[in-house]
Amino acid sequence: MTVNELSNNDFLTPVVICDAGVEISGVYIGDLLSWVMNTLQEGQLWVTIMSNINILAVASLKEASAIILAEGVKLPEDIQETAKAKGINVLSSTMPAYETAKKLSMLGF
């Protein structure tokens, strides 16, 4: 499934979509950046409640297919601009990480 196909699901709101065609390889949930650096695999969706600028470098270095901000966390305007400039896909979900993951699981991840 591509990020574009994923973003058509009602439980997700697109925040920044740069590369809609990227294939999703799985899902990782975590907020501590060193754990994400260690464990997230290329192409995975990264579900987190972190919304500061530092998530962009991590998503870029690990080549996450998209960041999903859980719990309705908002990405500040200036960080949205940076995400656009860096080509990082960001979506948001009003649900907590676990419920978001259950929805993703129903999609086959």
């Binding site: 907020d31 501590l32 950046l33 060193s34 754990w35 650096m37 260690n38 290329e42 972190m50 500061n52 600028i53 530092n54 998530i55 470098a57 991590v58 870029s60 270095l61 690990k62």
Partner: protein, 141 residues
């Protein structure tokens, strides 16, 4: 590649907003050189952790990345407070990060262990009050 290539970066210690930029640049450069993606992955993780440590623990520093025909070398130098007990600092979960820094997602105490895990060689030289120099190698084979 017969000649050694070197990239140097200044890592700003006051700016949490640009933290990780040197690592992102290194990744781009290594890609352009056609370095194996698995090697780039290891270098990215190790360098990112080292770069973040210079920002959050040492008021910034410099990063030198060397590319030769056997390995990628990373040398991170700072004039920060130094590390009092290196073996303690190497333990998973050990961190002196402040609450402010933890709120950003740093301070899991997994940086130095990650650097060790993803490199083939790692050496820490540190003097209290003088600074820290960390050298890492990622070999192609």
């Amino acid at each position: 590649m017969s000649e050694e290539l070197k990239f140097t970066y200044n890592v700003d210690g006051e700016d949490f907003n640009s933290a990780g930029q040197a690592s992102v640049s290194v990744k781009k450069n290594l890609r352009q050189l056609g370095i194996d993606p698995e090697i780039i992955r290891k270098v990215s993780i190790a360098m990112y952790e080292g770069e973040i440590n210079m920002v959050i623990h040492a008021h910034g520093g410099t990063a030198d990345v060397f590319v030769d025909d056997e390995k990628i070398g990373i040398v991170l130098s700072d004039k920060g407070p130094g590390i009092a007990d290196i073996s303690k600092a190497m333990q998973e979960g050990y961190s002196t990060a402040t609450d402010t820094v933890r709120a950003l997602g740093f301070g899991a105490g997994m940086g130095l262990p990650n650097m060790k895990r993803y490199t083939d060689y790692m050496n820490i030289e540190s003097q209290i009050g003088e600074g820290t120099t960390i050298t890492m190698h990622v070999k192609y084979q």
